[in-house]
């Protein structure tokens, strides 16, 4: 069993470029997911069926079907539906964005609903408007509840970007595959790929753990 690590240096730039794409997809998807997730959460809380039921359907659909299918679907079906062509990066980012929005929607909802009702009452007593109540009382407290699971979700998002390789996006996994095929050295290359994923994702894991400890609300 001979390992040849010298090849690795030669291909490192490609792997790093792939890692860059991974981060880019994660960033775009996270942005979409955060905005959409908030909308979904508010829709579900609103108490109006016409808002909460479609939100519920959306969330259940995206949470129960494999992201792999969603990504391929976005690449092949959505362009037909919207009449606008999507390249691999766009399809993957959009699919993952919509997917993670479903998870964040539930997390945000739990966060908002987790803020004690008495807080709302106190705000009302103090004569705060609905908007002000949300801005200054509820959302800051909801943030404490939301940040740890949301950060974990971003970790999952980053891992899910590997699936974009199925539609040829040149992110880390795909680049790794191409290189290992070309060099016939899957061990060295795939190990390097795993380590790179670890390096970019671990800080997020640490942040999640850190937040969990600092924001821990006693009794929860």
């Amino acid at each position: 069993m001979d390992f040849d690590w010298t090849n690795l240096w030669e291909y490192l730039p490609f792997l790093l470029a792939g890692a860059g794409t991974t981060l880019a997809i994660t960033g775009v998807a996270a942005a979409i997911a955060t905005v959409l997730g908030l909308v979904l959460a508010l829709a579900r809380i609103s108490g109006r069926r016409i808002l909460s039921w479609p939100a519920y359907a959306y969330i259940e659909f995206f949470r129960t079907t494999p992201p792999l299918i969603q990504i391929v679907w976005f690449y092949f079906v959505v362009p037909v539906l919207i009449g606008y062509e999507l390249n691999s990066f766009q399809a993957a980012s959009a699919a993952l964005g919509l997917n993670v929005a479903a998870f964040l929607g539930e997390i945000f909802r739990a966060g908002i609903q987790g803020v004690d009702a008495t807080q709302r009452d106190a705000a009302q007593v103090l004569g705060l408007s609905r908007t002000d109540t949300y801005r200054f009382v509820i959302l800051p407290q909801a943030l404490r509840i939301v940040l740890p699971p949301a950060t974990t979700t971003i970790m999952l998002l980053l891992k899910a970007t590997a699936l974009a390789s199925a539609i040829g996006t040149m992110e880390l996994t795909r680049v790794g595959q191409l290189i290992s095929i070309e060099t016939f050295r899957p061990f060295e290359i795939l190990t390097a790929v795993a380590i790179i994923y670890f390096i970019i994702n671990y800080p997020i894991a640490l942040a999640a753990r850190h937040l969990e400890r600092r924001l821990a609300i006693s009794g929860h």
Partner: protein
Amino acid sequence: MEIETVLPDLPFLLMGIPLTLAITAGAFLLGTVSALPMAVIRIAQVPIVTAVVVAWIEFFRTTPPLIHIIWAYYVLPVMFGLRLSALTVVILALAANTSAQMAEIFRAGIQAVPQGQREAGMVLGLSAWQRLWDIVLPQAIRLIMAPSANATVSLLKDSSLAALIAVPELMNRGQILSTQNFRPLEVLTLVAILYFVLTYPLALLAGALERRSRVAFRGL
């Protein structure tokens, strides 16, 4: 897209479901069984062993399951001369991933049991083992059930990755079918619906467990 054209082929797709379930069940059992000792070791802070366990958990939590599968598939035969079937490889890879997630879930559940319970056990003269088994774990179970159900849903979706190493489960059969009838859009939609049917009951269960666990801890 005319979905009625692929409905006659539904049986072919359905034949992949047993494998999908087998992968999910196998990985879950193996992962969960190994997760409990890992969680205990982590909490107990055993020198060196804990560090190894933590490294294992952090590594598998931050890297994509797809990479685990590809790595195991290509590298294990070369490294250990282990000629494992694709199915075994998938189950092992996903089990490793699951073990890391479940270890964290167990840890959070165990640590959430109020310290007072352990102290009461000490006062009663129970050994550490007895305290764990008879006092802490039964109470931790309630907190563990909901995240475990969610982890199982994730696992079921991740089983679709087995398609990429030619295990004839649901996703792979979808690939085969779509290349034979040239209708990937319809087949993909059908496969998505099937995954939904498989995971939705679990998702409902997870939701119900979540509500129950919130109620359970209200008194403490």
